[in-house]
């Protein structure tokens, strides 16, 4: 059954008509053209579709769209400033070589943001735990960890 829901998306109040079975991933991609939300496994196992909901990193491919009602959702498109200024985590990913094919990058960046918003000075183990659900086939994770650590203000 379709229903209108209202939620905050990248800082703006939006409404969407969703079905009980609709997943947040497809609503974000199909209704809001937010193609930075990537689908790779469709089963919550790879983290490519990660978004931040009320401060928590969530795999949007498993998240019922209706659950977003009244919540605050951030996708990768919501990180940079409108003038194009990148978020420090995005800058770090670029500077530290944490990007190769890039398909996992939005998810990794958002998992990093959810971590750093709560814990501005994480240990390497805490960083690795935060992105444990974000699979990457290209980088071997090293430069991603380095980038997140760098963004947290530590020199690595």
């Amino acid at each position: 059954m379709k229903r209108m829901i209202e939620f905050e998306l990248n800082g703006q109040q939006v409404t969407a008509e969703v079905d009980g079975g609709d997943l947040l991933l497809s609503v974000l991609r199909d209704q809001f053209d937010l193609y930075g939300v990537k689908e790779s496994c469709g089963a919550g196992e790879c983290g490519a579709c990660t978004v931040i909901i009320d401060g928590r990193a969530v795999t949007s491919c498993l998240y019922p769209a209706m659950e977003a009602e009244g919540r605050s959702v951030t996708t990768i498109e919501g990180l940079a400033q409108p003038d194009g200024t990148l978020h420090p985590i995005q800058e770090s990913f670029i500077e530290k070589g944490a990007v190769q094919c890039g398909f996992c990058t939005p998810g990794n960046v958002l998992s990093a943001k959810a971590l750093l918003d709560k814990n501005p000075d994480p240990s390497e183990q805490e960083i690795r735990t935060a992105i444990a659900g974000n699979l990457c086939r290209c980088t071997g994770y090293h430069q991603i960890v380095e980038a997140i650590s760098h963004a947290a203000g530590r020199k690595s």
């Binding site: 937010l34 193609y35 930075g36 939300v37 990537k38 689908e39 790779s40 496994c41 469709g42 089963a43 196992e45 790879c46 490519a48 996708t75 990768i76 498109e77 990180l79 940079a80 990148l86 995005q90 990913f93 670029i94 500077e95 530290k96 070589g97 990007v99 190769q100 094919c101 890039g102 398909f103 996992c104 990058t105 939005p106 960046v109 960083i127 690795r128 735990t129 992105i131 444990a132 659900g133 974000n134 699979l135 990457c136 086939r137 290209c138 980088t139 071997g140 994770y141 090293h142 430069q143 991603i144 960890v145």
Partner: protein
């Protein structure tokens, strides 16, 4: 040559900004007006006759625009041995076989339509191991060959036999001999971006493929052949590659789903997209080739290798891809890793009813090196020589020719071995081990090393190893570099930009790479064999020199000098010997001894009898195809490396933890240390997953773990503490001295880890992956009473 300003620096990738903002458009994100969605029904049997396919209900479903079976399409032979078809007709040979395809107005309707298809099978006896496939009376997977002649056996008519010297004689004269039997299994590329394509015909019946191929120009040829079979003999094909979500060799063939999209687009007159799910990616995308490898090596009393004898049986699966030719690269380490005068390598590939295999990073080299380097440790132990010393004694050297006739111009193998040995603390570990200090309670530590040789200067797999490049200076003094190289995440665009900027003498901000479009960019044989930095890089150097020459000719008139007196830096042409301020590379701006490129180009365009500045080059390296005996200098420079690891094995759980991982690579010269290290980190972790956890599990041909929960890719928590060690040997054949490095990192991981496990617990793991279960089983077999 202009001064080096960007080459060798850790510049960030040109496409990184688009990727960190989610703006990069992958095939997964692309839609075309009027587009339909194609979906494929796969076989429910490993081996069966197709008695009947009833598609009437599917075709009647509202929203369905086309339903195709093997009976509805022309004959389009695919695969290296032309043994595959887009949709199978008559019988299926594996669970991945495509039998029905639909196009519908939504993916959901297409999926629903497939559920309405009724297929009647008559099961046939099936074979799931090469041994069973070769047994007398085994059912034939293919009854006919590509020429429709009856076949007698499941053995591929693709014999691999490399003979150098006299192995039997050498064996008789060897002081020590060691023998081993090794196995590797299926692994998936696990590109995070799943496969997809959009096929679109225009009204002139020309085809555009929105694609993710690593071989756009060879794919063009394959698609043209299909169009011809479809009666479209005058049609043209344009390939437009999208941002590619990982390659690793998975896109070196044209695949069935791409042809299905073409057939559906042709049947409906609409663009058709096929986008794989993850499950489909595991099921239908071909894997790395599994191998059963028997190896014997010998050495003399001093430890010098005398011979290497390798016999392999490869499970090809039900169809051939280009991956059927992986033995040609397996030969590389078998004949030429370390100095070994007598070599014999015989391999046979066998059809089975399993998933079929294809190219994957290293192209057979990781499998072969697992056998060679595990067995080297066995032989060193037999001879009573330290494994690193044994390798150093036998290490390849610069300026030697190997038994397979590879010309090793530069070789940093000894340096790699020494640096890894010292970084590991090899001697200290030996002493600690002798003192019984490396195992405590249920934990045992061990160290192991393994080396690699791989093509580093292209690979003449086809008759050409060529690369076309065009450079164009525009009206604003910006350089556009048109290349056939495909950016698959490895960073070729960035490295080419650095080389192009330096070879011309421009600011890197003024240089852009234009690629991924066969209508615009010149021909290239493909993004494979770790070749683009070397091949496209050489093209950039040659093309850049030509641009400089033309620019200096133009500028000579403006500056009233001879072209030979001019130089260029930071996109400014200047008189080389002109007076300048101390510390300044360029003469003062008002001196009349310099002219900005932009101004020069505008003058060139806006003048009577004007001109433009463009250059083109077709760079084809001086390497050789293997001859009938599989000999010849396949690559014009050779990459070497050594991986050394320290592991801790938990004897209770069988878990192997990597405590240290040093990856030394002779890369010729480092073009971009950050990107280079990215290749090394990524390959080391991919290689470690191959060693420890990854396996596509097949039960009677049926995949049982087609998801990321059950298929164990390493995660960020499975930390592999990789330390890259970059060794530079400055190969004169390479651009700025560089060799290729994309594949090598994953080659020696598994044997280095296996050797370290042996050092730790005295048990040799001879099968991949070395999971905790397999480690425990091997321990139990070796020490049944403990």
């Amino acid at each position: 040559m202009s001064p080096v300003n960007y080459v060798g620096k850790s510049l960030p990738r040109g496409d990184a900004r688009e990727k960190v903002t989610g703006r990069a458009v992958y095939i997964n994100d692309l839609k075309r007006p009027g587009m339909l969605y194609g979906k494929i029904l796969y076989s429910q049997q490993a081996h069966a006759r197709i008695k009947n396919i009833d598609t009437t209900k599917a075709a009647r479903l509202p929203g369905v625009r086309a339903v195709l079976t093997g009976e509805d399409i022309p004959d389009i032979p695919l695969g290296f041995m032309r043994d595959n078809r887009p949709l199978k007709k008559g019988k299926v040979r594996s669970y991945r076989d495509e039998i029905v395809a639909v196009a519908a107005i939504s993916p959901e309707i297409a999926a629903e339509a497939l559920e309405l298809v009724e297929v009647e099978y008559e099961p046939l006896p099936a074979v799931f191991t090469p041994q069973d496939a070769l047994a007398d009376g085994a059912p034939l997977i293919h009854e006919l060959d590509a020429r429709n002649k009856p076949v007698k056996s499941n053995k591929l008519k693709l014999p691999w036999r490399l003979i150098c010297g006299d192995v039997d004689q050498a064996r008789g004269k060897s002081a020590y001999v060691a023998q081993g039997r090794y196995r590797t299994t299926w692994v998936n590329h696990c590109c995070l971006g799943t496969s997809g394509v959009i096929a679109e015909f225009d009204l002139n019946r020309n085809l555009t493929m929105y694609s993710i191929t690593q071989i756009p120009y060879l794919a063009q040829n394959d698609y043209l052949a299909a169009l011809k079979a479809m009666g479209l003999k005058d049609s043209q094909v344009r390939i437009r590659c999208q941002t590619i979500g990982g390659g690793f060799g998975s896109k070196l063939d044209t695949h069935c789903y791409e042809f299905i999209a073409i057939l559906l687009a042709n049947a409906t007159g609409r663009p058709v997209k096929i986008q794989f799910s993850r499950e489909e990616e595991f099921l239908a995308q071909a894997t790395r080739q599994p191998a059963i490898m028997e190896i014997t090596q010998g050495c003399d009393a001093e430890g010098r290798l005398t011979f290497r004898d390798v016999h392999m049986v490869l499970d090809n699966g039900a169809y051939t891809s280009w991956g059927a030719t992986t033995p040609s690269v397996m030969m590389v380490p078998i004949s030429s890793l370390y100095r070994v005068p007598n070599v014999r390598f015989v391999a046979e590939s066998v059809y089975t009813n399993n998933l079929y295999s294809q190219a994957m990073r290293g192209y057979g080299n990781p499998q072969a090196t697992f056998a060679v380097e595990s067995n080297i440790d066995q032989l060193a132990e037999e001879a009573g020589i330290d494994p690193v010393e044994f390798r150093l004694l036998n290490a390849n050297q610069s300026n030697e020719i190997t038994p397979q006739k590879f010309k090793i111009t530069t070789c940093g193998l000894s340096e790699c071995l020494e640096k890894v040995r010292d970084s590991l603390g090899w001697q200290q570990h030996r002493k600690a081990k002798a003192a019984g200090e490396t195992s405590t309670g249920y934990k045992a530590r061990g160290q192991g090393v393994a080396s690699l040789i791989h093509v580093g200067g292209g690979a003449r797999v086809y008759r050409s190893d060529g690369h076309g490049m065009i450079m164009k200076l525009d009206d604003f003094g910006k350089l556009k570099v048109f290349t056939g190289a495909v950016e698959i995440g490895q960073g070729v665009d960035t490295v080419l930009r650095q080389m192009a900027a330096d070879s011309v003498g421009m600011r890197i901000e003024d240089v852009d790479i234009v690629s991924h479009d066969t209508d615009i960019c010149p021909w290239d044989v493909g993004t494979h064999a770790s070749r683009q930095t070397f091949i496209a890089g050489n093209a950039a150097c040659h093309c850049g020199r030509e641009i400089r020459r033309k620019v200096f000719e133009l500028a000579a008139g403006q500056l009233n000098r001879d072209p030979e007196e001019l130089d260029m830096f930071d996109s400014v042409v200047y008189v080389r010997d002109a007076p300048r301020e101390p510390g300044q590379r360029l003469p003062p701006a008002d001196s009349g001894d310099r002219i900005p490129l932009a101004k020069l180009l505008r003058k060139a365009h806006f003048s009577t009898g004007g001109t433009m500045v463009m250059a083109e080059v077709f760079y084809d390296p001086p390497n050789q195809m293997l001859d009938r005996e599989f000999k010849g200098n396949l690559s014009c420079s050779w990459a070497f490396g050594t991986t050394g690891v320290e592991v801790e094995v938990d004897l209770k759980t069988g878990h192997v933890e990597i405590l240290k991982y040093f990856a030394a690579h002779d890369v010729g010269a480092s073009m971009n240390p950050m990107l280079l290290e990215g290749q090394v980190y990524g390959a080391a972790v991919m290689g470690s997953g191959y060693a420890l956890s990854e396996e596509v599990r097949l039960r009677e041909g049926r995949m049982v773990n087609g998801n990321f929960l059950d298929y164990k890719m390493l995660t960020a928590l499975d930390k592999v503490p990789v330390t890259p060690i970059i060794v530079e040997t400055f190969d004169s054949a390479g651009p700025y001295g560089a060799k290729g490095v994309g594949e090598p990192g994953c080659v020696p991981s598994a044997p280095a880890i296996a050797n370290a496990i042996y050092d730790a617990i005295g048990v040799r793991l001879d099968s991949l992956p070395m999971t905790p279960e397999n480690v425990l089983a091997a321990l139990k077999e070796r020490f049944p009473d403990s």
